[in-house]
Symmetry: T
Subunit: 69 residues, 12 copies
């Protein structure tokens, strides 16, 4: 069996709804150019505040996918 | 253009519902005394457990806002 | 009053729904064998991706409970 | 039951005696202006040295307390 | 000579007296079920505060011991 | 000799010129309300970019000062 | 499909040969009592020295496995 | 309003002059291929030494920019 | 002499043999598209386990190379 | 006024009594060869266990002192 | 070609001017006793404050140099 | 029994062969001037790359040894 190599890219997804939606927005966007995304890990969770309420959740993730040999 | 200075304060919001609600509870409370909150970053996520279920989500955040010069 | 001692165990809960559900799945499972779970702290948040969407949220937590003396 | 919000402040207590005394000095001082302190966590332990002996223990802690809603 | 394998468990000891006493409470408790404890490392030092004074020191440690082969 | 207690506050200074200027802007601003600032430590260095050039340096520091007993 | 829960345990494997052998010693030992080990992550790499040469490699790992529901 | 997604890339800029110049060299270079760079964060500051003097400052940064949807 | 700028990419190499082979697999794969790789740093070492033995070593590295100006 | 340069050395002090005594043992020993020690910071706190009780506290510190120009 | 071994020492340089000057002061001082310094990495950036202005920048670095075999 | 004091020094060993060989090169070199080395811990693993292959493994370790009282 072959030894795979994976690449990790770092993305910040944003969402007005939730942490989960911010991650999925980043994953969905990356999927447009890289079809075989495999896993992610959360690196940082932030957000901006407007009038005393979280406006956008900003979740930075690393996303891994195999690179073809 | 002026160089701004921002202050960061650390808060722990709690909620029986979700991580997002815990953060918004902390932000809403801080907004009562500081009107111009701008951003937050999650520092720690914990919670207490009652009868095998998460009772309160406890999310510690840093919140930043400009201080008037 | 007695000085208590607590034990911490590390678990990864998974869920197709949310971070919160993944944590509660881990807590619920641990509750089957340890009845007096008291608190948890999130250690790591990851997930696997299928077809450009998060398939399972994988949240690693430490769970604390008192050990009887 | 209400969702509480807590504030954390950072203090460095010092003592010629011990780590514990340095923490209690910081807590006692904070108690003069904030009556409902609940918990602390040690962030850093340092000290200055005079003639080959620790002169003051300098222990930096975060102290948490509920903010009234 | 044989290659040993060690297990590490994580415990939080508490004490009204000192950091050292909190660690020893955790070690003494673990010793009741595991006789060959070898070493520990401090992971976190916290405590609760009552009336402006540290009530319990809460010291989280990892404790290592050999597992028989 | 008395055991002092110090408070640490967290600030983000900004400057179009340099890291040093951003720190001094934060320190100068804090000095308006707290006269006895003693030391600082850099926590984070960031900045925003406009047209391929750093526009503002954003340096987050902790600033310590003695609290009167 | 079911949401799985995993447990992580921490072990230190030792070996006179290599980092890899130290890890495999820990994994092999854990396998005697837990049959479905799935993954590990290296936490710390240390060793003892005898006469100017590494005597034992000591590699601390976390090992994860599913817990039956 | 749309939820944006950002990509972060990691660069090491070098300069014989200063930390700031090293960062701007990295930003200026990245700007040649990515026009909408928005922010950076310093990850690491190093340098090489020649004849007892810093020869090149080597500053590693992460640079963020929006990816078009 | 010119001030160089370097880019860092993150890769996970895998190998059934060793940590070193996993790193070299990642480096060899990256070399197919980027000829002037200069250095790497290990970020994380993990692996999967099959039948009580490490099956694949998974080593995540950052790899740096100069970008032409 | 001159710009001073300081050197930091790393030591592990041990004691059967307490964390404080372990630090002072390290400081006292260093003082035998370096007279102008100024400050220390705690890096790690560990210990060995004998018969279910902490035998030696092992506290690793960095100690700083000015180097003459 | 021979395998080199390098030693790293830790120094804190200070300067009233800048971060860069503080680093160069430390490097220049170390160069008096060790001629073949090769590289440094910044570990910590602090400073003392006098009358609302940074008085001395205190930058802690690790400096590496080859040890002759 | 006496309370020992240990010193830790930081070294980077290099090797064209393996991580283990790089560590042993550093340990062997340190042994030439310090006979009673006791333990090491790995701090960082890096390397340089030549023609798409790791040329030298560069492993930074801390090495501890007792200092005579």
């Amino acid at each position: 069996m072959k030894d795979h190599v994976y690449k990790l890219i770092e993305l910040t997804g944003t969402s007005t709804l939730s942490v989960e939606d911010a991650v999925n927005n980043a994953v969905r966007r990356a999927h447009k150019t890289v079809k075989n995304l495999r896993w992610f890990q959360v690196v940082d969770t932030r957000g901006d505040i407007v009038k005393g309420h979280v406006d956008h959740w900003q979740v930075t993730i690393k996303v891994g996918f195999p690179v073809e040999s």
